[in-house]
Symmetry: C2
Subunit: 209 residues, 2 copies
């Protein structure tokens, strides 16, 4: 894939397009114009056409976009056909929430195992996925091809856990601790900062006060 560099602003909008197209598919919509989609999504038709054309000409003049085709193409762009395999590290409430979150599986992300240090949990299952001891993570990653680790361990443990998993050769980390995880390895990191979002809500409430 040697397409020109696409800006993060565009990339961050792709999952949203994907979601709206998925909804349209469910409504058995065959085709949609950029104008129609723009009205649903509350953005400009121009932006939609610009965004999509970063990746190719998926539409047809005079017709618009075929919903199913566009949906599949965006799925490919997002790498969903790689069928990423994931593990969750930390079987606390957040880990359990993620393990039960149907949306990931629907998008092609497959959860392979859950890890924790609590010996009482080892061997039990969450959503039919076995909980293993974190001490066996290196061995597990050696034997199984895993793409992404979702890290939902307590704040203080996060750097060490991330380091061990990255060393063991994982390619992507999804970090749920309120810190900007940075590692000296060639690993893609996405940080989820839940409280940051809450504070933006707080800011907006404060504004209209």
């Amino acid at each position: 894939m040697d397409r020109k560099k696409v800006s993060m602003a565009v990339v961050k909008r792709l999952p949203r397009y994907y979601r709206y197209l998925s909804d349209l598919l469910k409504l058995d919509t065959i085709r949609i114009s950029s104008r129609e989609l723009s009205e649903r999504m509350g953005i400009t038709a121009s932006q939609i056409r610009q965004d999509l054309n970063c990746f190719g000409g998926f539409g047809q003049q005079g017709y618009g976009y075929n919903v199913e085709l566009l949906y599949k193409e965006i799925g490919k762009i997002l790498g969903l056909e790689n069928n990423y395999k994931t593990v969750i590290i930390g079987a606390g409430n957040m880990g359990r929430a993620l393990a039960n979150y149907e949306n990931f599986e629907r998008r092609g992300y497959r959860l392979a195992a859950i890890f924790d240090v609590n010996t009482e949990l080892i061997g039990k299952k969450i959503n039919n996925i076995e909980i293993r001891h974190f001490d066996t993570i290196e061995e597990y990653l050696k034997l199984n091809h895993i793409d992404i680790a979702m890290i939902t361990v307590p704040f203080e443990k996060t750097p060490e856990v991330a380091d061990r998993v990255a060393r063991a050769g994982i390619k992507g980390l999804w970090n749920f601790s309120p810190m900007d995880l940075k590692l000296p390895y060639n690993v893609v990191i996405e940080n989820v900062h839940l409280s940051d979002g809450l504070m933006v809500l707080g800011y907006r409430l404060n504004e209209i006060l």
Copy 2:
């Protein structure tokens, strides 16, 4: 507060500043220059000065910024001194995760109650907060001043639940379902799209493949 309109780009960076300042405070750092902070955060010093000057001149020439003062000022800007009161709706894994998330409380958000429809849960407590039946939500909101409802109910239930809570006069909604919640009331909504973040991670992994 009649300051000029501040762009969302700036607002979204505020919680991050707040977090870094909190870390500096813990390290007993008294003062910091925009250059020093910029190196820690991986952004330009110019941007930091621009951002902060949307809200006032918190620094001092030749000195930099007093960490504690700046921390408190950003806290005020984010509305944290309003001591927002929150409720969680949906006592599933995500609801429980949020109820146990210490970071919110530390930021001044106080959880007042949890609501669910599962009668087996009613009266029990999570993190010492009582679970109440969702049917009593209107009554509860009438008797208690609540600012924000965190909605962690199943996808299909989300629009109805949001509607009821908004009608009952809540001011802010924090939505965890993978949909863009929109309501015809004067209510501030922040949507958390966890899977969107995961898909951006997937995109980035796919890029370096």
